[in-house]
């Protein structure tokens, strides 16, 4: 009896101390900044590594921003994830659910219509830079895939054997082949990237990875 009272008391004491230190830390940090590319690619990796160990990975565009926030809070508790990992994952999910455009401007034309004119050429040097920032977390430095479930882009008979329009559409709109253990988020989960950026990355993939 005495033992459990002590235990409960110390749990609560610890919790209070934790809360106080959290608030202190919060005050020290300046106003929260918009999620940087670092958070997004850390988030993509953390999502791929953590969110499929109990159940299948659920598609990142399944939830709007609000539901994603609550679901991640729930999973942070259920899966006992450290808070910073959960925040990165949330940044990634909110960035890759493709809902922002719809929420702000219902009249905006669908992105894929712009893709149809895939004729424009890409710049592989810019593309390589973008790849290093956004895609490398999942696809790996050599394009062979850094995580399970990510296809090998260097396979000559693989994904890059498809036509530019097809690959580009999948890069821009995202792709989850049924049964694939993991989806490809739209624009790799970074909504700041433009369609032209995607053309640049594709040029880089074709030049530096295809068939190596």
């Amino acid at each position: 009896m005495r033992g459990s009272v002590t235990l409960i008391a110390s749990l609560l004491l610890f919790a209070t101390a934790a809360a106080v230190s959290r608030d202190a830390g919060r005050a020290a940090a300046a106003a929260p900044a918009a999620p940087d590319t670092g958070a997004l690619s850390r988030g993509a990796k953390a999502w791929a590594e953590n969110c499929g160990v109990c159940h299948n990975l659920r598609s990142p565009d399944e939830f709007g921003d609000v539901q994603a926030e609550v679901a991640v809070a729930h999973m942070r508790v259920r899966a006992r994830l450290p808070g910073d990992v959960a925040r990165d994952i949330l940044a990634f999910l909110q960035a890759s659910n493709g809902r922002q455009a719809a929420a702000i401007a219902p009249a905006a034309p669908p992105t894929s219509s712009t893709v149809a004119s895939a004729g424009a050429v890409g710049d592989p040097v810019r593309g390589a830079q973008i790849y290093q920032e956004t895609c490398v977390a999942c696809h790996g430095p050599n394009g062979k895939g850094a995580l399970d479930g990510v296809p090998d882009l260097t396979d000559p008979a693989g994904r890059l054997a498809q036509a530019d329009e097809v690959v580009l559409r999948h890069m821009i709109d995202g792709l989850q082949s049924p049964g694939s253990p993991m989806p490809m988020p739209p624009k790799g989960g970074n909504p700041d990237l433009s369609d032209q950026d995607m053309r640049d990355v594709l040029a880089h993939l074709r030049k530096d990875f295809a068939g190596r």
């Binding site: 749990l11 609000v66 949330l90 401007a105 082949s177 253990p181």
Partner: protein
């Protein structure tokens, strides 16, 4: 740029409003309206305006990317501002964010023994869950389990109802009724859209050795250790109770029946993201009271706590202690798990001429399971959604014959799952059961086919 876009939006809204008003005004008098020159010229004007707007929209690069840039230029913290925008300002939930989720399933079993059931449809369960989040530090989560019993009644259980205080990156304080953190099946795998087979392993469902829930407080969290990670959960709660047979029940009781709190927890270690090893424990005391044998519904032993009729002298509290280990390997298409739990309730001495003391009760259960998604082998549109699964497990009970006869079993499952979506699955399995504590003249073996469609939402 922002201004331009806002202006366009505003004008579109005005235009839309005007059209609507016009339509409403015009509809009852359509015949006249058609040749009203003023109206016609107004419509023409609007058509021109619309065409101009369309052209303007086409010029504005309105891809999500550019909108995103526009937006991040104006608001510093995107996630927060977005959530605020999407929360209804005047709703009773204002300030709170809501998620409705849960799961449901239905199916059937076909047994080769008529006496064990023959062909049965299983209404399955409906588990709605509600989650409310306030700020970034408070989450309320609750899930109900609504089930149709064999007798036709609807059973309603509050699976969990808990307040989570996200106090620190590495510590969350949980209060309320929560799923037991002991082991991995109950807390992580039991929802049917997550489970790789159509039912719980022997000894891990209701009436098994796996604790179900606890009412109390819990501290839990994860701590990074370089590339690996440690996670922990430590709970103090009302603890288990005895049922009239002397069996230990761990359903998370709303009131403590004795003055001993139960302590339970689990520690998990992930050397790699897809490997986890865990160890769990529970320590509690249970105490019963004797009563008039006839008055206690089970008709068996008159020992119980908190049961009507158990008004005799209180029996000495005895220790119930449980420990277990579990492991998981979940790389790529593989899902490999094992779990072992052992619970021991000490003997209960009864000083009464009419009743015997209760011997030590030991419950022990384990299973090992392997599932493999064919997407690891093939890209075929249909084939890759299949997942063969196999599980072997055993539940043993010593010291309580009645319970042993009902539940002790050895079970082998051969399953084949089909995944329609990440959280929609059709389970099918052939299950071979051997009830190890039943007599030869009873049905002590059967082979069943289980089918279940499960949907997590």
């Amino acid at each position: 740029m922002i201004q331009a876009w806002k202006r366009i939006q505003l004008r579109m809204a005005t235009l839309l409003g005007a059209t609507l008003a016009l339509a409403m005004a015009a509809s009852p008098v359509q015949a006249q309206a058609a040749d009203d020159p003023a109206l016609l010229s107004r419509i023409e004007e609007m058509e021109r305006e619309l065409a101009a707007l369309k052209a303007q929209v086409a010029e504005t690069p309105a891809t999500p990317g550019s909108l995103e840039q526009v937006q991040s230029a104006t608001v510093p913290s995107r996630p927060e501002s977005l959530s605020r925008r999407l929360t209804l300002p005047d709703s009773p939930l204002s300030g709170s964010r809501l998620l409705i989720a849960g799961y449901a399933d239905a199916g059937m079993t076909i047994s080769d023994k008529e006496s064990v059931g023959g062909i049965n449809f299983i209404a399955g369960t409906f588990n709605p869950a509600l989650f409310f989040q306030y700020g970034d530090w408070l989450l309320f989560e609750s899930e109900a389990e609504i089930e149709i019993a064999e007798t036709g009644e609807t059973g309603f259980t509050l699976e969990y109802s808990q307040l989570d205080l996200l106090l620190h990156d590495n510590a969350t304080l949980v209060i309320g009724k929560f799923l037991s953190p002991v082991g991995q099946f109950q807390e992580r795998l039991h929802p049917s859209w997550i489970n790789r087979l159509a039912d719980a392993p022997a000894g891990f469902g209701h009436g098994g050795v796996q604790p179900g829930a606890e009412a109390g407080v819990q501290l839990r969290g994860g701590v990074p250790l370089g590339r690996s990670r440690l996670n922990y959960a430590l709970a103090v709660g009302n603890g288990p109770r005895l049922d009239p047979m002397g069996e230990v029940m761990t359903e998370g009781f709303g009131r403590d029946d004795n003055r001993n709190k139960a302590i339970s927890g689990r520690i998990g270690f992930l050397p790699l993201p897809y490997v986890e090893l865990g160890a769990s424990f529970l320590r509690a005391k249970v105490e019963g009271a004797t009563g008039e044998a006839g008055e206690i519904e089970s008709g068996g032993l008159a020992i119980a706590s908190g049961v009507e009729g158990a008004n005799g002298p209180v029996l000495p509290a005895v220790r119930y202690s449980l420990w277990g280990v579990d492991g998981a390997y979940t790389r790529g298409p593989w899902d490999v798990r094992f779990e072992y739990l052992r619970g021991v309730r000490n003997a209960i001495p009864i000083e009464d001429e009419e009743m015997e003391s209760l011997p030590r009760l030991r419950k022990e259960a384990w299973y090992g399971q392997i599932a493999y998604r064919l997407s690891g082998l093939t890209q075929h549109r249909i084939l890759q959604n299949f997942e063969p699964a196999i599980r072997y497990g055993r539940y043993q009970v010593r010291g309580l014959d009645k319970l042993a006869e009902e539940t002790a079993e050895r079970r082998l499952d051969f399953g084949l799952n089909y995944w329609f979506a990440p959280a929609v699955v059709l389970h099918s399995a052939v299950q071979l059961r051997k009830f190890t504590a039943r007599h030869e003249d009873e049905v002590n073996k059967d082979t069943r086919l289980l089918l279940q469609l499960a949907y997590g939402f």
